[in-house]
Symmetry: C2
């Protein structure tokens, strides 16, 4: 069965955690936000009315889903995207594209050519 698998060095990170993390609009907004530029927790929290503790919990969930990475610089935690979770989600979803998107055939041919 041809699929997008070859795009993904696939370790199946827990899809329950990943999709659950993505199911909340605050968490999706945070991801969109840090996609432009990595940020500290406080910077991430600024647009939201909720407490810093609440944002901290959201980030914990995003972290355990491998959707973000964090590193410490002094007393700051700096957050950026982590490809792993996104790739797992993308890989799972990609299976279904073939059921309706005929153009995918062309994509797959291109990718296979690129690898051979």
């Amino acid at each position: 069965m041809v699929s997008f698998n070859h795009m993904v060095k696939s370790i199946a990170y827990d899809l329950d955690l990943i999709f659950h993390a993505l199911s909340n609009s605050t968490r999706r907004a945070i991801l969109r936000d840090i996609s432009r530029c990595e940020k500290t927790i406080k910077e991430i929290a600024k647009p939201y009315k909720m407490s810093l503790a609440a944002v901290s919990k959201h980030l914990k969930m995003l972290g355990s889903a491998h959707l973000i990475k964090r590193r410490k610089e002094g007393s700051f935690h700096i957050i950026k995207l982590n490809a792993k979770g996104f790739k797992s989600a993308e890989q799972w979803l990609s299976y279904y594209q073939k059921f309706w998107d005929r153009r995918l055939d062309a994509l797959e041919r291109l990718l296979e050519e690129g690898e051979e």
Copy 2:
């Protein structure tokens, strides 16, 4: 900002519902199962130890996320995949591919050529 948007006649079906629906492994397994062949509720429920009512609730969630369609034939409800939910999820995720998958550039050029 270039993206996969042109692959998706985009009505933004509720991403909270979609990703929440996808966050449960029983529901993901059901989707995988019906991707091969449309099925009745009872057929869908057969592999699981849970009650028919529980499966019925899972299908309700999948339905409200536009991940499945149902039609009635006599006393049977027949379930099959619905592209809408998958496309919304795919569209949302596609935004993030550009942050790590360099090959996407080639894909996008191909698709744009295909449309012009």
